[in-house]
Symmetry: C2
Subunit: 395 residues, 2 copies
Amino acid sequence: MRGRGATPIAAGERFLRSRWVDPPQGVEELDPASLAPGFRAAGVPCGLKGGGRTDLGVVVCDAERVASALLLTRNASAAAPVRVCREDCDPARLRAAIVNSGNANAETGERGYRDALSMRDAAAEALALAPPSVAVAETGTIGVPLAIESVLGGIGSVVEALGERGAADFAEAIMTTDRWPKRCTVRCGGVTLSAQAKGGGMIEPGFATMLCFVQTDASLDDADGALRRAVAGSFERITVDGQMSTNDTVLLQATGDAGRPIPDGLLEAVLLQLAIEIVADGEGATRVARVAVAEAASEDEAERVARAIANSPLVKTALFGRDPNWGRIAQAAGQALAGERLEELGAHGIDAEELGSGDAEAEIAVRLGRGEAASHVYFCDLNYEYVRVNAEYMT
Amino acid sequence: MRGRGATPIAAGERFLRSRWVDPPQGVEELDPASLAPGFRAAGVPCGLKGGGRTDLGVVVCDAERVASALLLTRNASAAAPVRVCREDCDPARLRAAIVNSGNANAETGERGYRDALSMRDAAAEALALAPPSVAVAETGTIGVPLAIESVLGGIGSVVEALGERGAADFAEAIMTTDRWPKRCTVRCGGVTLSAQAKGGGMIEPGFATMLCFVQTDASLDDADGALRRAVAGSFERITVDGQMSTNDTVLLQATGDAGRPIPDGLLEAVLLQLAIEIVADGEGATRVARVAVAEAASEDEAERVARAIANSPLVKTALFGRDPNWGRIAQAAGQALAGERLEELGAHGIDAEELGSGDAEAEIAVRLGRGEAASHVYFCDLNYEYVRVNAEYMT
């Protein structure tokens, strides 16, 4: 029931290799187990996932003068750790993050909030840091109380395991059903940047959380602005199934020790590659597509049309079926512009040829003929495996 | 790969039988081949679908003083017949409609428009009616030129076949891959009402059009208002996969010969039953659910949340998997209210128990605790069959 001869996009030797990622010149990829100088990380099993699987991770900045930025889900049903981060953290001065997989601690009421807080406080104590300088993130099952004793029992050993080459263990600790870990360490323009993410594998009982942690020794005047801009071009441009998680969290930490800024485009390229891997590792995904909408009346309109196409189950099944079906794209675009006048897009307005190719990455172009604005969205196919992982697991 | 022991909802002997349909007292169901007095209909094969299948239909009102109302898709990529209806029909005085299945005549450029116009004009001539009093509707493949010679060649025989018991043939003529025809004839309060619809079966190369034709001998002071109110509670409350067609058309015609109005709730009940059957016959559908959102801050908010839940692929696969997964409902609701504050919905705010039942119809209740407004949406499950019909057909 998998795709027809498609090879899922897997992390190879080179990390920055999607056709849509344009890294700055001179980027060198380092061992992805290594962290940017000044950071340590670790991942250990604490018993949440069972089977001895790594499920508790910590990343910490040893420099006191860290600049950080934290972006959290806008979902109104935000999970307990997200509420702790919102209410009891200093987003600009985060030294560390404690993260577990196996339980999202979402829809768990006041008990869930207390659990997330005590997890965070215990990590802060073990790291000898002030609690508001430690973020907490969780991912996994929702609606199930967190086994807080397991988490608290593991904090000593994860802090003890912290090391400069702990990025690979940390990336493993945040995985749920991701088919491969998503991480990289790159050097460019005299600065080092390491990043770990996890994404849209199925999460019992059923939805994916996006987590991403980025460390650098670059100096950042405006960490929040830099992170927002990079996320706007990467994690905010992807969709697996149009579903927004209760737990999404992105943390950027910078020591400034390198005495130089991040080279233009480096953060964007790393986050975009991670974002595309999250799509490529979407539930059951066999292919990734980018739909680029041009000639829109406004950027909002271009994005609305791109998202309507990217989230259309008819387009997503066509991507799976290698079917260059431009009619479905015209329909989705027309729906997004309901009530407005649109000339027929037809063969001249839509290039959907690559939908029919066997390639792992397909580009779709739509020209609306209504103006000069443009936008784009990355998405994956919808197939039998998506139905299987989401229908056959019973809560 | 079908559902687990589910029986698709099929039209049985009694038509008005969904748990959500509340027909007025004293409704009597008549032979669904019969039409309301004063109307004749027919369906014949003209060669568009091939294999001798019925694909050309006409419905006509013999009374000159007809009151009618016509609702058309708001999709900005509207098909040629929709544009003909918009630009060259008198929606309040429609005597007849000519309809074909097998080709939607959408995204077919100026040639498509001329074809739809000549099809309509030929039908008007054969019926000896003024062209603006004849509507045209088409459903089927998009992006493929209409075989207009086949249509024109069939108009003589379909007009010749017109009869007072032609509703069943007409209902068959408008079907694409519907698994069963959707039609009924009812009598109540001294008036007769007949209706024929078709819906969300797969349409090569891939999307469903909703068509519905309603005839009555009741008198209607405000046909347009009556139709809009009934559609607001029925066809505008359903979703199969969140995709809006290029060809949707609903036509109501009334002679007034019975000298009485339509009893309260009759039109609503008939259209709701047809709408629910369209959902039940959605692509691959094995179950129908109604999600009722209450305690919203506004009706718009309630509907936004209901639609987010109804179109969530995670909720739709849970409906297929008989999984009472309230976590996915909380997530979809939270996404629809992104950026706002929402108390945890949890077990007290969400009743998703019937998702886990084996019943063909499942009710989901969501209480947002934000106000007093309510709304609801009907939807079907997402399953392997949806993927198969949409991925395995190649354009």
